[in-house]
Subunit: 408 residues, 2 copies
């Protein structure tokens, strides 16, 4: 766990740089019950920064597991109206939202995948409005990690120092080990923004990914796509950082253009189940076939969620020398692993990754090629030899990545 | 904390004898995050008894305290509609409800009483429909204790064995130390029912309470009042036990008849604040004046909640030799202390404590003298020398308690 000093820095960072909480604003924190001390510290700091009220949505994977194992798919699929209302309440009341991520990557390994899938599908359908709000930055939100015992065990084993090591990883990735984390983040964000600017200048039509693992995939980019990075503006024009750590520069693919095959380069922990060693083949932008050596049922459930989970909604570039990648550790947590590796996402595109996207309706977004879905699931494709090439409308090619790292 | 064996017995007891869960029924458990293992054990057992789904409403007094200290009274008074809906959902969906009580009696001692009061008043007003449902047994519910560290500290001090001692008290009071707790409860319940029957036979008009501490109070009983004890029938005609432990035989006073003064015999922990050494004087059924040597503001807030908190809603009789009383311990928890001592309650009367009460509307209940309020707060008045006398309509007097114990 974080020590007191780090905890103070952590709270300040996620509140100021993360959600950028404003005086008089409400805050919701989603937090596992095992990491309550983090919620308490963030709540106290939030008040000192002028929060009006702090609500905590407690999470508990042990209870979830008991439910998944014992309840029927039908019972698990019931999402109460009040639960949906409790989520939509955040945007209605202008709350900002911090999610403390400390999932046990293998929490539900003993649960049949169709059980977790039934619950996940029902929830993501019921919460479509909420996820649209979040993905369009209708509220300021930030996902940040905390070192739970269960997570540390999956990363570093049963040893006594597992939590300590994961804690150190988190502190490093979040730049909490530096004397002035706020200043370090400012510098980091500006670096990422510079790269996004260069990419935006190129106005690529296509991106090609190639490596020795077997990836040979060309994807289209949405018309009017915008490369974004760490810092975005919310609907209220106030800046925030949605992920901490974050190392990615990302944009919207064209949902109708993807040809070839992509191989996973890291296991994916999704809903407490691990999917590993998989390929996905695309034809005309749509998943044609796929297979995972491990967790194929879980992958099938993701892809089968709705029409949109058969197409791409995000392409993100991260150099192999990113601090998270350099840790050389597999974290089994998307918040980390996506920042160690170039990745794609199945499902909904962030509306903000096309020009003026927040002002566009679904039809207009689709017309530009931005994908729609009730889900958005990242999967990692970066390797040390990954080559990424940008292709312009005139057919000219610009190297973007070579040997897994930025060319500029 | 409970050991594994006791935990199993506990879960079975609160589920079978407590809420009497039926196959296919949903269950909600309200539980402090510090006692999650209790919720997990009850959830697992509930499924083995046929529950369809188990939801847990996590509680956290540390967060509550942070909110009370830092948020404004206005912000604390906002009760979201979805929160109200989440409570009413239980009756709508036919859930039963278990509340795990492990409060720190002094959780909010550093919080200004007006802050906790503002929140409590707003909540009880917003949840009036829900508490009406609960008090009329519209759902089957059960409050049962768990030995938290914070609670044990208030009862037994900082010592290492505090939790152990409180755990033993709870096991004893809940008859979990006996080989067959279910059978022991059946016998206990029948004993209480026998006493209630005798009282019902007398059809008292008034009850007089007297002791050397200074209590000299005569209260009316509601017309058609019914003495109840541990076991009741819910709206669906299924039996349940609402409190574990429970030693009381109780009924509805007449809201318009109470003359004299009553002295508290034990401290009252209410909303994390302790009220002690107080008197309340009644005139024509209404609180005329009162004073608490400790926590007078908190008492003032209770009495000032609404018109109904100025009148009585329950009279309960418990002998000084009850197992809880014999422990000789002050638990600072109403679930325990009310079962160690005769008590009265300010606020709403249980509709079921008048004949056919569940079928009567508010106007009809009031016509019989049953009090209405958004609150119901017990306070203890029993002493080893307490004398309780029943007075019939013809003026004849029947001794009910002498020297703090039943006369029959």
């Amino acid at each position: 766990m974080f020590d007191k000093d780090t905890l103070g820095k952590y709270a300040e960072l996620v509140l100021k740089k993360g959600v950028n909480i404003q005086s008089g604003q409400g805050l919701e924190i989603a937090c596992p019950i095992t990491e309550a001390y983090v919620a308490h510290a963030v709540a106290e700091k939030a008040y000192s920064l002028g929060a009006s009220i702090v609500r905590v949505r407690w999470e508990d994977e042990l209870l979830d597991k008991i439910n998944y194992i014992n309840a029927s798919e039908k019972a698990l699929s019931e999402v109460p109206k009040w639960f949906v209302a409790s989520k939509n309440y955040l945007a209605e009341k202008g709350f900002c939202y911090i999610a403390v991520s400390a999932e046990d990557p293998a929490a539900f390994k003993d649960v049949p995948a169709e059980k977790t899938a039934a619950a996940a599908v029902a929830r993501s359908r019921a919460l479509k409005k909420f996820s649209e709000t979040v993905m369009a930055n209708g509220i300021r939100w930030c996902v940040a990690p905390a070192p739970s015992k269960a997570w540390a065990k999956q990363v570093y084993g049963d040893g006594e120092d597992s939590v300590k090591r994961l804690t150190a990883d988190i502190e490093k990735a979040m730049r909490l080990d530096l004397p002035d984390p706020q200043a370090a983040w400012e510098k980091h964000v500006q670096n990422l923004e510079r790269r996004a600017e260069i990419l935006n200048g190129h106005k690529f039509a296509l991106l090609r990914f190639e490596n020795k693992l077997g990836t040979d995939l060309t994807i289209g980019l949405a018309r009017d796509h915008v490369w974004l990075s760490a810092r975005e503006k919310a609907a209220d024009d106030v800046e925030f950082i949605a992920n901490m750590p974050t190392e990615e520069v990302f944009t919207a693919p064209h949902a109708g253009i993807a040809e070839g095959v992509v191989k996973s380069s890291m296991p994916l922990s999704y809903n407490g189940q691990i999917i590993d060693d998989f390929y996905i083949r695309f034809k005309n932008g749509r998943v044609r076939d796929f297979y995972a050596e491990k967790g194929n049922d879980a992958l099938k459930n993701i892809i089968g969620t709705d029409a949109g989970t058969r197409r791409l909604g995000e392409a993100a570039l991260i150099g192999k020398n990113s601090p998270v990648a350099q840790a050389g550790t597999l974290f089994f947590n998307t918040l980390f692993d996506e920042n160690a590796s170039c990745h794609l996402a199945l499902g909904k595109a962030y509306p903000t990754t096309v020009k003026n996207g927040r002002a566009l309706n679904l039809k207009q977004l689709k017309a530009l090629g931005a994908n729609d879905s009730s889900e958005h699931v990242d999967f990692m494709i970066g390797t040390p030899d990954l080559k990424v090439t940008g292709i312009k409308n005139d057919g000219s090619e610009i190297p973007v990545f070579t040997d897994g790292e930025w060319c500029f």
